[in-house]
Symmetry: C2
Subunit: 398 residues, 2 copies
């Protein structure tokens, strides 16, 4: 009994805003704030990059010490590779919000996206935070989504509502995509923030978030490049009044489905909006020895430049799919391999199948189905093609 | 006392030829033959791809059983993903050459490059082999190099000569590049064949070839895509008459330097001739904990699409270098990181250094120097940029 709600709303007890603090030279919104009236059970996934941006370092610290109530995020500056000053600035950004909310700094998470290696303009942040606080509203989700955009061409918002344990629970999320554009030193950062009024035990939330993020934000790739600022968070404030969801319960499964639908929607929007993308590609692997291997195989195909260029050209070049698969797992066997493009087999029984439909890959959506054997491992990865547009955007070319 | 010889020649006791057998529709040379008057100590490196092309399967078998005397290679068809027929065809191709030379099939190595998933046109091979045999000449090296070209824009040949153990020894090699172009299903195959008249024990040759191939052909990347047909071979026929070079001897070290100079020359030519390349990029890592980690870090940078696009745009975007490094090794530390572009520091002491020279990366040759710590590990990897040309060539775009 899941209800996709047409208007994206915040769960009970949450407010959000997005304002322009002048960090972006364009004057567009660049400061987003999310606030809960109650402390939140929270789960997060951060980039594993060695050069984690300062806001991630601060957020990891704050996550380990307590129950956050707020999240502040800026676009236009990544606050990354900025040394001790960067760390002090990220802490000050949290403190600034905490001061306005009359909570402690440790209850505020911080995120940034934008230029690497430039100090955060703190006077602009300090002036922007009170504005963002003043603009807080239970209808502010879309504004906040706009304020974390960089090269995104549309804001990414999703909400869903369902009954869990007799209470209506809402899960909402915003994300920004793996975009990168003209101002130098930008990284392709993925930010995703989810909010729910469900009451859920922290251990249950962390387990569910781990699985859901893995099947959504960790199942997309634009160019295989990992950012220093990637961050996905889910905050649950319990305002729906349901009995706390416990690990392994039917309610946990129901909540997991809700969170999954939001995260998958947001992840797909990120791929839809990938730099220069002309195709949305789904790579589905089955029959692998394990799920982990299936995911590696799917990423092997999805990150192959040769495959991605072929997709840009609507070219049913299955040889590049086979080559990518074979480079990931040297134990694959040719006679067991089956490849289908948009439902049409192109390789099976150890032999190519001639493609008769010349329009096979002309559409925007391409599904690559691969069976590599008879194992139980399956995985799906979403990606885009590699186009002139991608090169143009990322070459900052005059 | 190494002598780079201006005219590329074959070592004593070797002959080569390159003819047009009609496999390529263009009518260009597509069948190369290399023959030694004596059986050869031989070392080879083959792709680790699961879907090894049939000629590789046959060559691996022949290498394990004896001392090859000949190598036959065709372009225009990869004989890959061609099942049992492909295997029979590769064997027949070896048998055809063996018959003409009056040796056994097991003394003939086979290589192919071109379209994946199409049967080898055996009638053309059978007609071409006698022509190639008739054309054999001690001056045929360049002809043979031309016959293995696919999208290469120039033939890749190198020769070097030096005294080892009082005798003049020659090492020569040909290669074809990681190119891929219009006719569908082509893979980006690297072929490299080296020949020497040095007498060398097989164990010594294999050890040296392993190291040299690793530092040359295994240290280049165009797009990170591994072919099903990659193959590097060195054949030593002993015709120089030197006392057999033993493992670990000073002569082995001298021979290693010769082979290395040839393989590095060929590897660099492959990168110079990469599809759509406008830059030749050297990524040098030092200070890593181990040499293997240094190489992974170098490949991490060299295979980053974001980095490669920045280089295409002559953009000194060190943030993308840092992000690529950090995604390979999560233990790297920002304060120890130093990055220089063409000799100009852009990040050190935990801080960016402003780039003043706007022309810094305008030239064709770019050197990226990275120090990641104080460890002993170093590695150099060669690569090209990611350009519109690469996308155009690989999208087969109309």
């Amino acid at each position: 009994m899941k209800l996709k709600i047409s208007q994206t709303v915040l769960p009970l007890g949450f407010q959000a805003s997005g304002v322009s603090a002048g960090i972006k030279r364009s004057g567009k919104a660049d400061l987003a704030l999310f606030v809960s009236e109650a402390p939140c059970a929270t789960a997060a996934m951060m980039t594993t990059n060695a050069f984690k941006a300062a806001p991630l370092v601060v957020s990891i610290r704050h996550l380990s010490s307590g129950h956050p109530r707020a999240l502040v995020a800026n676009s236009g500056n990544a606050n990354c590779m900025t040394g001790k000053q960067g760390l002090a600035d990220a802490l000050a950004m949290a403190a600034c919000v905490a001061h306005g909310l009359e909570v402690v700094s440790g209850e505020v998470l911080v995120a940034s996206t934008g230029i690497i290696g430039k100090p955060l303009p703190m006077e602009k942040i300090r002036a922007g935070v009170p504005e963002a606080l003043a603009a807080l509203s239970s209808k502010g989700l879309a504004d906040a989504a706009r304020a974390i955009m960089t090269t995104d061409t549309f804001p990414k918002v999703a909400s869903v509502r369902a009954k869990i344990g007799g209470r209506v629970v809402t899960v909402s999320g915003v994300a920004k995509g793996a975009g990168m554009i003209a101002p130098k030193m930008k990284t392709a950062t993925m930010l995703a923030f989810c909010f729910t009024d469900a009451r859920i035990e922290k251990a249950a939330l962390r387990q569910i978030a781990g699985q859901v993020f893995d099947a959504s934000f960790n199942a997309i790739t634009i160019d295989g490049c990992m950012s220093t600022n990637d961050m996905a968070v889910v905050m649950a404030n319990g305002c729906a009044g349901n009995r706390a969801i416990k690990k392994g319960s039917p309610e946990a499964a129901a909540f997991s489905r809700l969170l999954r639908s939001i995260c998958l929607s947001l992840a797909r929007m990120i791929v839809e909006d990938a730099e220069g993308a002309t195709k949305f590609i789904e790579v589905r692997i089955m029959g692998a020895r394990t799920g982990a291997l299936a995911k590696n195989l799917a990423f092997g195909v999805a990150n192959s430049n040769l495959f991605k260029c072929a997709m840009f050209g609507s070219d049913p070049n299955w040889g590049r799919i086979a080559a990518a698969l074979g480079s990931v797992d040297s134990r694959l066997q040719e006679p067991l391999l089956r490849i289908a493009l948009n439902g049409t087999p192109v390789f099976k029984d150890g032999k190519p199948v001639a493609v008769k439909n010349r329009e096979l890959l002309k559409g925007r959506h391409i599904v690559v189905d691969v069976a590599v054997g008879r194992g139980p491992g399956r995985a799906t990865v979403y990606t885009s093609d590699l186009s002139y547009g991608y090169v143009r955007i990322n070459a900052d070319y005059n």
